[in-house]
Symmetry: D2
Subunit: 344 residues, 4 copies
């Protein structure tokens, strides 16, 4: 399998290289960049010295479409919307890690993203790549929209309860915490070490772009879905997302029954681990494709607390992208992704 990565200089891009190198059916990994073409990737990432020798190549849609089996688009917003049309004419399967094709409703995209949406023909064709819940559609897809890091954690956490109608959809509140790699490679004052260390920061309260993405999926899953509350926070760690979710229960399940609902939902899905005991920690999934889910039912308030934890660059980005590519290409979903969490 020949693989191309467009936008390989971002964190998602190099994480893909790390994972693809463990994949037994990948014979070639080529990297492309519109801005740094001709440079070896080691100029930006010296940790790749002696490990990955590829040079960044200029983007050539035709070549990408026809000489690769899989093209991962890991570029800034808007780039995939421009490239995808041409790429789809070729033989390559496409996995896009940006938000360009995730939202089906153009007006919603434009309201939250503040930019023009991709062509409807593209967004209609794109399959939302939440691997565990959309496997069948992904299997036949030519273009997969890889979910956002927060939506992956949140939707995996909510799905079993929502799909079985066990919670009040109007009551959903999501308090999420991320490490700084979620903000990408470009330095900024918010992610400046001097100001981020020994601190934490709330941001984009009620305005984060991942909100409509979560709402779109919930609406597909439940007729009662509506607006949710979603609050992101930056905590002083490089990798990791923890989403703490709250909802009123409409059922009368006890703790054991809740656990069974979740265990059952994910029993065939090795990358989702429902925790039987102990409180989860972000480090427990570090560098791996796992999403850990923890549940607590509080009879005092009749609320369910769901906690999901993942590595935002793996299950929240490159890992799920590879999982989706595996599904699209008929490989085992876990191929290239069997690495353990690095602990501690």
């Amino acid at each position: 399998m020949k693989v191309a990565i467009v936008g390989a200089t971002g964190y998602g891009g190099i994480e893909l290289i790390r994972l693809l190198r463990q994949h037994r059916h990948v014979t070639e990994i080529s990297v492309f960049s519109s801005t740094q073409a001709e440079e070896p990737l080691t100029s930006t990432y010296p940790h790749l010295q002696d490990v990955y020798k590829g040079r960044l190549q200029p983007i050539d849609t035709n070549e990408l479409a026809n000489e690769y089996d899989i093209v991962f688009l890991s570029a800034p917003p808007g780039v995939a919307a421009t490239l995808a049309g041409g790429l789809l004419e070729g033989a390559a399967a496409i996995v896009d890690l940006s938000g360009d094709f995730r939202l089906k409703d153009k007006r919603v995209y434009e309201a939250w993203y503040g930019r023009e949406a991709a062509d409807t023909s593209l967004t209609e064709q794109a399959v939302y790549g939440l691997s565990e819940w959309n496997e069948q559609a992904i299997r036949g897809a030519k273009l997969t929209a890889n979910p956002g890091c927060y939506p992956t954690a949140i939707l995996l956490g909510l799905a079993p309860a929502v799909k079985r109608g066990l919670i009040n959809m109007k009551s959903v509140i999501i308090d999420a915490k991320t490490g700084t790699t979620g903000a990408g490679k470009n330095p900024s004052s918010i992610t400046h070490f001097s100001e981020m260390n020994e601190s934490m920061k709330i941001y984009k309260v009620n305005t984060h772009k991942h909100t409509p993405e979560i709402e779109q999926l919930l609406a597909e899953w439940s007729p009662e879905a509506g607006a949710i509350t979603f609050t992101p926070h930056l905590v002083p760690m490089s990798r990791g997302i923890m989403a703490t979710m709250y909802a009123e229960c409409t059922s009368e399940l006890n703790a054991r029954e809740w656990l069974d609902v979740y265990k059952h939902a994910y029993e065939r899905h090795p990358f989702v681990r429902v925790r039987e005991k102990g409180f989860p920690a972000a480090k427990e999934v570090y560098g791996s494709n796992y999403c850990d889910i923890f549940l607590d039912y509080d009879s005092r308030t009749n609320r369910l607390t769901i906690v999901s934890v993942l590595d935002n660059l793996v299950k929240g980005a490159a890992g799920q992208a590879l999982q989706n590519a595996n599904i699209m290409k008929g490989f085992d979903a876990t191929e290239g992704l069997e690495q353990f969490p690095i602990y501690p």
Copy 2:
């Protein structure tokens, strides 16, 4: 003013020393410990070399009661309950930093703390030291129960909305994040650097002892108060608490009006800063007695998000304790507490 600190080897204790040294009316600071008596405090805390020369003295209730103007009790759970009776017979005013006297209902204490409650005569006498909202009672108090770190952040954040009946009391959800000093000086595997760094952890979901403390105050403030959802998280920073609170609005205030409610509530209280713009960060109150409050009203969900931020060892412990001592003794509440946040 002669001051005694019992249990001075904990983080609350040494923070008191730091603050008291800036207090213009403090003439003596003596430190007491049941376990490390006779040792200089610098054996435990070398950063105090040349700065604080006191030796830890064994606890003598009679001496404490009669030779000091203020006694701060900063000891493990249960110690204050044992000492306070004797101390109250003397002249000293007492500020207790433990949870021993915060809860009025013995059964509630025993259910959440899993140990015997203090004598009712003591808990009845104790005044809850939420400085900004209980100033009058504190002024005449002989024994002040200093609030917990989380309750301080949370109650300061909720008070204006609750007291004016502007939110649905059944809808209150609190997602709180703390630095590790909240867990105290004793090393444990949870706060082991190797496992805490590059991680974050949720803990004591729906079972944290500060829950009934918050509920008790809300019940004093609103007839509709009931059980709340309160979830603590450990984030990889030493100091700081951020509490993110969610509630449904029962009023129709817009963002500006919400800000006015809060600005008005705290206009005479210099240690509470209501943020006009920008998202708050924990570091912005580091080492200071400030509590910063941020508000966001979301018309899509009709929910109010309240964020409050403080330094758990200052406004969440030693700083508020000193503020209370100032009020009890008739000093300006800010005496010894004018230090800026250290940033960055």
Copy 3:
């Protein structure tokens, strides 16, 4: 005392404000900036809300020279060289925190800084503000060149041994470690949280600008001084410098005698603490003007290891600047600087 800070938006500038607010003789603190004039400082630093209300003013040399008692220059390289001439015509005493006036030899400056040196008339007039060792000259100075953060730690550590001729000057090797605030407020990929956390980095090996500054002082102190080895490292903390220094002993002092040499050298200097026991840690001076010094003599190798630790923004910048201003103006050197280390 009216105080002006030019370049107040950098970390050194706001740290000066923090310290000056504790100074009993300061009646006014005004802030100046060439780039952000007219803005309130809270736009850049929200932690100053309700605490410091000054607006940044455009730079007016005449006003600065004549309406202030002290002008602190905390601007980028080259700015002080341009402003100082005009300022010196006025009444204000000047403390410059940049490297513009530290080096006496223009060629050395130009070789290491890669830019034109300030006028010789200025550099000749400037007094090197290593407070503990240059007090007399500082007392009469109109223009003080505040030492660099590394040179402060290193020179305080080496001085007693060098001045008494107890070490081989050709053998001096300095391995220094700094927190990221030493790199200033501007974000860069090196100080990007995502890449700095859980990492450490060596940089500018044998080429750091502070090298000639250290060498200049050593040459003043010892006829045998020559080139030194100085290696800086960035470690994942915001504040703090630890300099580990190695030298061959030319004397036959034992551990106790070494301690006595240092204790004696600093006995009248409250900000230098010679450690009697325990290994020093950066946090033990956090936020304070202390420099802690630790010594170890190894008879196996006949080498002395000297470790000095300080807060790079306090004793390594703003704190020492204020200490110098106090000396220049005849105040007690400790005025405004009595704050304890914040621990932990």
Copy 4:
């Protein structure tokens, strides 16, 4: 290949499991513990849920010796000295990660470790497992003493210069920095997050047990070797070692020639990467078996600065242990160790 790990609950033990799971010839991984026998390893390490199902078994020397191909001893000091005799009677090859068999001279061991040394018959039999430099001896070994984390970094950094006689052996000074996992799994006040974060600490100056281990190897490599200066520091990161080494040059090599010496020395050794440009950072080897080496020759002082960087739990412990096991068993040295650094 059946593999046993004795002392699997330490960080070295679980890191071995992580790496062994990537090894294509490992069919079984069993874990042993004298203190936690019968418990599943997930009780201590929940990140292994669904990933590693082994239960800790009580130690049975006979079983270990005869039913496994490789036994890794990852136990506290002294345990290996007790077990190894019995194990050597069996068929298993043994790799010991403790210091029990590293020092050939009993008196040196006893002076630095403060405990009785292992039997001479065992230490004589043990081969020092510095994989890159001792490959031939390791190939035929039955018992390999895996090097300490610091010695691995330091010896890989010094070897090419020492073996070719290019530096003055009396001038060697080593300033090393480690993350906290080097201090192991047991919590202590030094590695308590609250006190370690935003700090760094020097420790065991001139007294660290790894000193004689380094000196022993240098003495094997150079007749002029003697006592070295070695200073360890703890920096606030979980993983990683950076050793900065200084030595006077006895040759007249320029920068390019020094690079060639090192490139040549390691050209057949994929895990040692000699850096051609850029300053190294600890994170660039995170989670991998690489040791990165950087060189700087300073003509002003005629000193060479050598910097080596590795992940203390991989190349500094479990990774090199597996590399040694591969060599002992005739596998490719890189088997199970091809994983990339995780960056960032």
